[in-house]
């Protein structure tokens, strides 16, 4: 059996390894090593836990069996999942962290002796508060992530669900969570603990249903943050350094990603959380639609334009992921490069359904990461480029964000696609994007619309090049 001091040191080491794991992600070269540090930290934490308990009887075997079952399922998912489904996968994983936190809190509540927290009905006040916070946040993470998962998977409609009195109801539930926690701490009543869990599940559900599909990058980052805070809450209960450090790291990581995503849309965090975006604006902007002339073309025209270009910038968006067009796109780019045409990729911070979604898909299609640029890095290059090839992106290219203060997306940083000599816009129809706003770019003189499935169109262009 490991002494308390030694195990504390090992937990600290694994916390430090987790910091190094995140540190490694600062560049693709060091990232693989970072992931290795993470795995090492996890192995240390688990091994130390076994050694410090020092119970290697039947229970140990059962634990290993459950560990193995989970591990096999996890490994199976990790190898099978297509890269386009990463947002769903991450949302699903968040829900599991949340539920695991809830289960650990329940176990600690039912059997506090095992965790040195006192006895049932007489749990130390501090521990009970920490436990309640961990359990509540875990439950919110769980039900919120399930909704996010269902929305991303398309099982549930991506459009926001709003009803009258939504915000007062949410506020009421949040207040009652605090009140119940207070009474739970003074009475130690098990019933109150279950009620606390139930309404936390409910509020997680209610918080996410009004948020629309395009805001998913923020939601996923936010749930990532919650899963961290839940882990930290449990870490305080267990007085475990590795858990506290990790919870804080993950919590702040998710918070920063949410911030970056909100900034990418020029919206405040509360604006996104309060939800309903995309449902209300559609009516106001749809009247002047359909009347303006649009130039549309076919693969032949597009190939002609690109063949005569000397530089092409590709703007991918969620539509590329839906159509699974990343490989076809790479083949098209290869052909362009053979003709000595300079090609680069421009990625908007909120393109796709989660932070960095497009980068992963392009990496999957063997696009070297040094050809892929962020908004600030590449935005000035559009003026000098001959062709912009917009595939599956929409709102992030809408010049209205710069010109029309009335527009709901006014002020959002957008890619200056319209400055290119010509714009090729692959899209299935003229329908507005998730924000529900008509895109002025469709009607510009130098825009050629290519109405087709993104993958099919890209393949056809390649044939014609």
């Amino acid at each position: 059996m490991l002494s308390a001091n030694l195990s504390a040191i090992f937990y600290l080491i694994s916390g430090v390894l987790f910091i190094l794991a995140l540190r490694g992600l600062s560049s693709p070269e060091t990232s693989r090593q970072g992931n290795f540090f993470g795995i090492l930290g996890m192995i240390i934490a688990v091994t130390v836990t076994f050694l410090s308990i020092g119970n290697f009887s039947t229970g140990f075997v059962v634990v290993l069996i459950f560990l193995l079952i989970g591990g096999l399922i996890g490994a199976f998912i990790a190898y099978k999942i297509p890269m386009t489904a990463m947002p769903e996968l991450v949302a699903g994983f968040h829900s599991l962290v949340g539920l695991a936190a809830v289960f650990v809190a329940i176990a600690a509540f039912l059997n506090p002796e095992a965790f040195n927290l006192g006895s049932p009905g007489n749990i130390k006040l501090g521990s009970l508060i920490e436990m309640s916070i961990g359990a509540a946040v875990g439950a919110i993470t769980f039900s919120g992530s399930i909704i996010a998962f269902l929305k991303l998977q398309g099982i549930m409609s991506g459009s926001p669900i709003t009803f009258k009195g939504q915000h007062p109801l949410n506020a009421l539930i949040l207040i009652s969570i605090i009140v119940i926690t207070y009474f739970l701490c003074s009475t130690q009543s098990a019933n109150l603990f279950w009620i606390l869990l139930a309404i936390s599940f409910l509020i997680g559900f209610l918080l996410i249903i009004p948020i629309g599909g395009a805001d998913m990058p923020v939601v996923i980052s936010m749930l990532n943050s919650y899963s961290g805070w839940a882990a930290a809450g449990i870490g305080f209960t267990l007085e475990n350094t590795a858990l506290i450090i990790t919870g804080a790291l993950v919590g702040s990581s998710g918070a920063i990603l949410s911030y970056i995503m909100c900034k990418g849309m020029n919206r405040s965090f509360f604006n996104v959380i309060l939800g309903g975006f995309g449902a209300t604006e559609q009516s106001s902007s749809s009247q002047n639609k359909e009347q303006r002339p649009v130039k549309s073309g076919n693969a032949d025209d597009a190939a002609f334009l690109m063949k005569n270009a000397s530089s092409v910038i590709i703007v991918p968006g969620y539509g590329m992921a839906v159509a699974q067009a990343q490989h076809a796109l790479r083949e098209m780019v290869d052909t362009l490069k053979k003709n000595d045409i300079k090609v680069s990729y421009a990625i908007h911070p909120v393109a796709g359904r989660m932070p960095g979604h497009m980068n992963v898909l392009l990496a999957e299609a063997n696009v070297p990461y040094d050809e892929v640029f962020e908004l600030e890095e590449i935005n000035n290059d559009f003026a000098n480029a001959d062709v912009a090839f917009v595939i599956g992106a929409n709102d992030v290219t809408n010049p209205v964000a710069k010109t029309d203060p009335q527009s709901p997306i006014y002020g959002m940083p957008v890619l200056d696609v319209e400055k290119c000599k010509s714009v090729l816009f692959v899209k299935r129809s003229l329908s507005p994007g998730y924000a529900g706003i008509d895109n002025d770019l469709f009607y510009k003189e130098n825009t050629l619309m290519l109405f087709a499935d993104a993958k099919k169109m890209t393949e056809d262009i390649t044939k014609n090049l």
């Binding site: 970072g34 096999l72 962290v97 176990a107």
Partner: protein, 124 residues
């Protein structure tokens, strides 16, 4: 403008910290120190993560937050020798499986993603 708006949150933060210091038990303070400093480390480290790796960042944070398995193992092993399946340890066992899905799934899918990030070949 930035200075004006950041003054208020800082003030609130100091006030909250004061409340914690005034009412929390002593053992809590050590952990709380670790927690607050870790938040700052997280803040510094995450800003250095390149935007193109944000998806792997999420999957790896997912995996490491499943270190909550530590609590699950303690709960799972807490049953007495006659009956290892009491209610508390069953929740522990279930949590072990859930966390294990995340740990294995999270690290492996991160590995898979990171293996795809390649630099331009020079000989071309």
């Amino acid at each position: 403008m930035v200075k004006k708006s950041s003054f208020f949150p800082v003030f609130i933060a100091i006030f909250l910290l004061f409340l914690v210091g005034a009412f929390a038990p002593e053992s809590f303070m050590n952990h709380f120190t670790v927690f607050v400093l870790s938040c700052f480390i997280g803040y510094m480290v995450i800003w250095n993560v390149t935007a193109s790796l944000h998806t792997p960042l999420m999957s790896v944070t997912n995996a490491i937050s499943s270190v909550i398995i530590v609590g699950a193992i303690i709960a799972g092993l807490a049953g007495n020798s006659e009956n290892i399946f009491n209610t508390s340890s069953i929740f522990g066992f279930l949590a072990i499986s859930l966390a294990a899905i995340n740990i294995f799934g999270g690290f492996l899918v991160t590995q898979r993603m990171l293996a795809m990030y390649k630099k331009k070949k020079k000989d071309k």
